[in-house]
């Protein structure tokens, strides 16, 4: 890989909690490392509460990391002051899940899209108007919508406004946290296609967070799977979907539903018992061991030792004792499809 656009190393985010008898820290993110190359789309998936949004918020510096390093184009931004961060702000932008609450209700959509250009001093007056018009056109919004307020738009239109705003300053990195989850199927399709087209045209890199596996497969070059604050597997998309190795990834892939009754009903599902353990007290050793269908096969090692994320070849990284021992789990066989 050439110099990565984003490099995250050993990222840790702990949230202290007080009161209600629950004292301690939430281990939201616990040692996460990954890189995103130029023009690469990395998907981040995992169970609800596994820390995906926290990773995104740390990258965007919306929350301060507890430990670790975040480098943008080689510059360590982990501890930069707001002021020092400002010029770098145009390099990365975020699109949020909720198109309803993430846009300022007091601004017109035109102002919302133009704001980053204005703040960065990149365009003023008539020039700004023209740029905003172009952006509206680019994301498929009618020009007159520039003068409307967010609440006067549909969910899909609002998400397009969010996207136009994010793209206004031609960022090198787009961080998208569940950008289509709240939208209807037909609207999702148009936003996903738009994102793919824009990416091809503008070449930005993207961290794409979702819990929809089919979307990741459609959009991303590589996929990272999180479980309880850690990455358990990373691989190129084709490889991850075709040859998942971690038992959690296998169960996750087996749980996704396919809109085809013949295929869907012939699949075997690996149902995990119990719920995600409390991030206040993550299990010792392998965090997945309390729900791993293969336990106690790797005990007592699974209790004592955290499995490291190791490369098993061709950029496929897995954190599993069994995989390391050459006993790769096969709880689930991927569908035979032309990928």
């Amino acid at each position: 890989m050439t110099e990565p656009v984003l490099e995250v190393e050993g990222l840790v985010k702990h949230f202290p909690v007080r009161g209600l008898g629950a004292k301690g820290v939430v281990h939201a993110v616990d040692g996460v490392s990954f890189r995103i190359g130029r023009g690469e789309l990395l998907g981040l998936v995992g169970e609800s509460g596994s820390g995906k949004s926290t990773v995104a918020n740390c990258v965007m510096r919306l929350v301060a990391p507890t430990a670790g390093a975040i480098r943008l184009n080689g510059t360590d931004i982990t501890r930069l002051s707001r002021r020092a961060l400002r010029p770098l702000r145009r390099s990365m932008h975020m699109v949020f899940q909720d198109p309803y609450s993430s846009l300022d209700p007091r601004m017109t959509c035109g102002q919302i899209v133009g704001e980053p250009l204005d703040v960065q001093g990149l365009a003023r007056g008539r020039d700004l108007d023209v740029r905003v018009s172009q952006l509206f056109d680019r994301v498929g919004l009618r020009d007159e919508l520039r003068f409307r307020y967010p609440h006067e738009l549909s969910g899909g239109q609002r998400q397009r406004v969010g996207l136009a705003r994010a793209l206004a300053v031609s960022p090198e990195l787009l961080v998208a946290d569940e950008p289509v989850s709240a939208l209807d199927v037909s609207v999702q399709a148009s936003i996903l296609n738009l994102l793919r087209d824009l990416q091809e045209e503008l070449g930005f890199s993207c961290l794409f967070i979702t819990h929809d596996l089919a979307t990741v497969e459609y959009l991303c070059d590589r996929v990272a799977v999180m479980y309880l604050g850690q990455i358990v597997e990373v691989a190129p998309t084709r490889e991850l979907f075709g040859n998942p190795k971690h038992p959690y990834t296998q169960s996750l892939l087996s749980a996704g539903v396919v809109p085809d009754p013949e295929v869907q009903r012939s699949r075997t599902r690996v149902v995990l018992e119990g719920d995600l353990p409390s991030p206040l007290e993550p299990p010792s050793g392998c965090r997945f061991r309390t729900r791993c269908p293969l336990e106690p096969r790797s005990a007592p090692q699974s209790h004592d030792e955290e499995p490291p994320l190791v490369d098993v070849g061709d950029g496929h990284l897995v954190a599993c004792h069994l995989v390391r021992r050459g006993e790769t789990p096969d709880l689930y066989r991927p569908l035979e499809v032309a990928r």
Partner: protein, 323 residues
């Protein structure tokens, strides 16, 4: 014979901006221990249709039609008769589990309350049965969970508690409104298995309201596709996915990413406002097959194969998809 027969159901809301025809002449049936999937995009009338059957809508709603269940017309049954049916024979799991459980009461007491009210169980019996029900919906250590408050449970467990509550009186019909929508895939898979299990073990008929075609493909026997308050297509599940006829159904199927498939197909335009529906077919403004007839006439539902109904002047599989 069908368990439930809905005929010509229409629901109108009188709003400040005029009448909103949320459901328009909807007819459908539900067989014994059948799983009926009801799909369609936000606002097409899925929730309102089934809430109207149990008279769960506000006063601004005017409901017309008939809904025969167990020898009575639900829409005309007396209040006391309806109360006997509601919760006891037909149970509803609402779209938002977080708001449907009372945060101030232990889950066991909330389930117990249903049992005491409908079945007149004693406190001790209600508690024992509540534990049984939590066990049935596969909540681990139900003896302990029965004394917990909703906030102590995860989203998936809360949804299971809602289902346990709905199953408390062994209903004939379970109406589950988007039971997996707020949940991630792992938990969704568990809830879907549970639905299948309930149908098989208890013989409960299930109406599964969802916008997720994958969910329908997984558990439904038959599917009703709704658009702008109307049923536009209905077929057994395999038939619907293999030979979709309505351009909207085709559109929905093409719009979801799936392994190996190419670029997503988009449905141009957007769902029309129910207050100002077009004169002809409601889908015409977005339809690649629309013509003069379509734009000025509303298509009736017609039979196009065994148990396969479609409301379209130009039904058929998508040319684009076939190509």
């Amino acid at each position: 014979m069908s368990l439930l027969e809905v005929e010509d159901l229409s629901v109108r809301f009188d709003t400040d901006d005029g009448p909103v025809h949320a459901v328009d002449h909807l007819s459908l049936t539900l067989g014994e221990s059948e799983v009926l999937g009801v799909v369609g995009e936000s606002g097409c009338g899925k929730s309102v249709s089934f809430m109207s059957l149990l008279r769960l809508l506000p006063e601004t709603a005017t409901v017309n039609g008939t809904a025969r269940f167990d020898g009575v017309d639900l829409l005309r049954a007396s209040g006391s008769r309806l109360r006997q049916i509601r919760g006891r024979q037909i149970a509803f799991v609402f779209q938002e589990p977080m708001t449907s459980l009372n945060p101030a009461f232990k889950v066991g007491n909330q389930i117990g309350e249903v049992l005491r009210r409908h079945l007149g169980l004693s406190r001790a019996d209600a508690r024992a049965r509540a534990i049984e029900l939590l066990h049935l919906v596969r909540i681990p250590s139900p003896e302990r969970r029965v004394d917990e408050y909703p906030h102590q449970l995860s989203g998936g467990m809360r949804q299971r508690v809602m289902i346990a509550m709905a199953l408390a009186c062994d209903p004939k019909i379970l109406i589950a409104d988007e039971p997996t929508t707020a949940l991630d895939v792992t938990i969704q898979a568990g809830i879907l298995d549970l639905m299948r299990d309930i149908r098989e073990r208890l013989g409960t008929a299930i109406v599964l309201i969802t916008h997720n075609l994958g969910v329908v493909a997984d558990v439904a026997d038959r599917v009703v596709v709704m658009y702008a308050g109307r049923k536009v297509e209905e077929a057994p599940v395999h038939e619907l996915f293999a030979r979709p006829q309505h351009p909207y159904t085709n559109g929905l199927l093409g719009a979801v990413p799936r392994p190996g498939a190419g670029r997503l197909r988009e449905i141009p335009g957007r769902v029309p406002s129910l207050a100002e529906l077009p004169r002809g077919c409601a889908f015409a403004p977005r339809c690649p097959r629309a013509d003069e007839i379509t734009r000025s006439n509303v298509p009736d539902l017609r039979s196009i194969g065994p148990q396969h109904l479609v409301a379209c002047f130009h039904p058929g599989p998508d040319v684009e998809a076939v190509a």
